[in-house]
């Protein structure tokens, strides 16, 4: 039986073991730095602006994966009363007046930089977070619906019904106004995606791209540079965080 001699002096041992140690710990430290969500006491940063690019060329008639995913993610129920039921995201079907061309447009809160809903809210319950997400503070919303009157995108819903079994990450309640949160709970968890974008990529047509508009290296920024995109009602000068291709 052949004997193996380990020739290892103290210096080599320390060198090798420290390298192994670094190789073991470093990815954890490095990737955790990349992927970690914000700590609860850490405010959202203005260095980011979350947004979406929706390619209507890829959005098809029959698919409603984004709508279903949003409803499931936030526990939005159908009470069978379509005029009062909540919708955070909806699909618009546009038909061109002369050519008859049809376009499918997923429509939700456009997360304006200068949102009219925030301007008119008497208590300041509607607000823009530092990272550009427009939210409703459910503790100070008095349910006056002035924000709904002012929203140019009809993106907000008033909760007309008693709700039960709400999800912890989606605080909702009767008598308050609500709208798309850009899946803020996912962003704060470091997932950096939205339920609609995920569903569109998995079950749909990859029409929704989510990302940081302020990061030049992000895919959304690259595509915004590469393709012609539009804001809905750009004439209002609201600088929306949701942009569209193909309209």
């Amino acid at each position: 039986m052949k004997k193996y001699e380990i020739k290892l002096n103290r210096r080599d041992f320390l060198k090798n073991s420290s390298m192994v140690g670094m190789a073991t710990i470093a990815p954890g430290v490095f990737f955790q730095e990349l992927a970690h969500g914000r700590a609860l006491d850490e405010p959202a940063s203005a260095k980011k602006r979350w947004g979406m690019l929706i390619n209507t060329n890829q959005c098809t008639d029959e698919c409603d994966a984004c709508v279903t995913a949003c409803n499931e993610e936030h526990g939005i129920e159908d009470f069978g009363r379509p005029t009062t039921d909540t919708q955070w995201i909806r699909k618009l079907k546009l038909t061109h007046d002369t050519s008859g061309e049809t376009i499918n447009v997923p429509m939700m809160c456009q997360h304006c930089e200068n949102p009219p809903c925030v301007d008119v809210c008497p208590t300041g319950a509607s607000f823009v977070r530092a990272d550009g997400i427009v939210l409703v503070n459910k503790h100070t919303c008095i349910g006056c619906r002035y924000c709904m009157m002012s929203c140019p995108y009809k993106a907000r819903s008033f909760v007309h019904e008693n709700l039960e079994n709400q999800l912890p990450h989606a605080p909702r309640g009767k008598g308050c106004v609500e709208s798309c949160t850009l899946c803020v709970h996912k962003i704060d968890n470091g997932e950096n995606t939205t339920a609609c974008a995920e569903a569109c990529s998995k079950d749909g047509q990859q029409a929704i791209l989510f990302g940081d508009l302020k990061d030049p290296k992000s895919e959304i920024s690259k595509q915004l540079k590469k393709y012609e995109t539009k804001e809905v009602r750009s004439d209002l000068g609201l600088n929306t965080a949701v942009r569209y291709r193909g309209i």
């Binding site: 009470f79 009363r81 379509p82 005029t83 009062t84 039921d85 909540t86 919708q87 909806r90 699909k91 618009l92 079907k93 546009l94 038909t95 061109h96 007046d97 002369t98 376009i103 447009v105 429509m107 009219p116 925030v118 301007d119 008119v120 809210c121 008497p122 208590t123 300041g124 503790h139 100070t140 919303c141 008095i142 349910g143 006056c144 619906r145 002035y146 709904m148 009157m149 002012s150 929203c151 140019p152 995108y153 009809k154 907000r156 819903s157 008033f158 909760v159 007309h160 019904e161 008693n162 009767k174 008598g175 308050c176 106004v177 809905v232 009602r233 209002l236 309209i247």
Partner: protein, 407 residues
């Protein structure tokens, strides 16, 4: 100058009892509606995610602008120094408080979270005209309380002109604020900046008409006989204000029609077959504008207290129809998110939204009327708001006497 008018505390009578019973039953109905909506949610109303402000808001705004308008009678005396209205000053200020309270209560009880009134009163976003209105409304109450104090306390009667002028400025600002709620909505084609002056004019008209109704009731129910001079003055005021509102209404629509992108809405409102077209032409213009003018220019009717009452009732009806048309029609007309395309969705994009107010909304609104009426009847029975005489001998007598003193 001291107020020489003789006032009285109204005593319990059949008229006050009837008034009180009606007021209390309206309050009970309103309270029932509020509790039901608070418990069940707003799905019981006709309001929805398309028509977010409905009949309760029409009632609330009706009462709020009537409140500011009804103070005009006191202002005419204190600010514009027309003495014949002096004896109506206290009543005018009282009615302003009553109507404003009723209107604000409807507004608050219709909130999704009325329990958070404290939040609304303590947390402000000063970019919102709504937040400013909270100050304007509560300040209005305080200014009128001061105004009443100056009117009641003989020693302070000399300050009435100054405080009255301040109250007049405040009320114009308040109605500007109320009108601006609709002026500052970028998304809706049906609203615009002319809403503020239109609301001021409407407040003057509505305030005068409601005040006259109260005077008529005082005449028949409390035995405070109305002189022909007062009737004639109110007739003239009604005519001025009907023309002012009519002029501003024409101006609003002509201005809007000049802008091509607003054609769709104007055609929808003025020249279509829907409830708003009917309300505009038949109720607002026909019943609320032309018919009262015909009555007020009719030689026989215009001189009778009943004729002016009839015109006042028609004006009140027309004003309510006008507010309903303004508030609801602009919401019913769809937003045009994608010009050049027709839109369709499960959220009623591109569709004209229908709205049928429910009984709960009506009950809530009536509750507001009930509160206004109850405060009024209670106040006149505990304090001397009501002038004892409004006949020509007293009103003209005082007028002439003061004229000769100043001359």
């Amino acid at each position: 100058m001291r107020d020489k008018t003789e006032y009285m505390v109204v005593e319990f009578s059949k008229a006050t009892m009837m008034f009180g019973i009606i007021a209390l039953s309206f309050i009970a109905v309103g309270l029932f509606s509020f509790i039901t909506l608070e418990h069940e949610g707003h799905w019981l109303t006709g309001m929805n995610n398309q028509i977010v402000w409905g009949l309760p808001h029409v009632f609330a705004i009706f009462l709020i602008i009537a409140a500011s308008g009804i103070l005009n009678i006191a202002s005419i005396s204190s600010v514009f120094n027309i003495k014949i209205y002096k004896s109506l000053g206290r009543l005018s200020a009282l009615l302003a408080i009553c109507l404003l309270t009723g209107g604000l209560i409807v507004l608050v009880l219709d909130l999704g979270r009325p329990d958070r009134l404290v939040v609304a009163m303590t947390t402000f976003n000063f970019k919102s005209i709504f937040a400013w209105n909270i100050f304007l409304y509560s300040g209005f109450m305080a200014v009128i309380a001061l105004y009443l104090w100056m009117m009641f306390e003989a020693r302070y009667n000399k300050f009435v002109t100054k405080v009255g002028t301040f109250a007049f400025i405040w009320r114009v600002t308040l109605t500007t604020g109320t009108g601006s709620i609709f002026a500052f909505l970028v998304a809706k084609d049906g609203y615009g900046t002319l809403m503020a002056p239109l609301f001021i004019a409407l407040s003057l008209l509505l305030g005068t008409a409601i005040f006259y109704k109260i005077l008529f009731w005082m005449d028949k129910g409390l035995g405070v006989s109305l002189g022909s001079e007062i009737i004639s003055r109110f007739r003239k005021l009604l005519i001025y204000f009907i023309f002012t509102v009519f002029y501003l209404t024409i101006l609003t629509h002509l201005t809007s029609l000049y802008v091509t992108k607003n054609h769709g809405f104007e055609i929808f409102l003025l020249f279509s077959q829907n409830i708003y077209t009917f309300l505009f032409w038949f109720c607002q213009i026909g019943i609320g504008t032309l018919l009262p003018l015909i009555i007020l220019y009719n030689k026989k009717l215009s001189e009778s207290s009943f004729g002016v009452l009839l015109a006042s009732i028609l004006v009140i009806f027309g004003s309510f129809a006008m507010l309903y048309t303004i508030i609801i029609s602009a919401q019913a007309y769809p937003l045009d998110l994608f010009p050049g395309y027709s839109e369709n969705s499960s959220f009623y994009d591109g569709a004209i939204s229908s709205y049928m107010p429910s009984i709960y909304e009506l009950m809530l609104g009536l509750g507001g009327f009930g509160i206004s009426a109850a405060i009024y009847i209670f106040a006149i029975m505990v304090l001397d708001f009501t002038p004892r005489y409004l006949d020509d001998e007293h009103t003209l007598g005082q007028n002439n006497k003061e004229k000769s003193i100043t001359e």
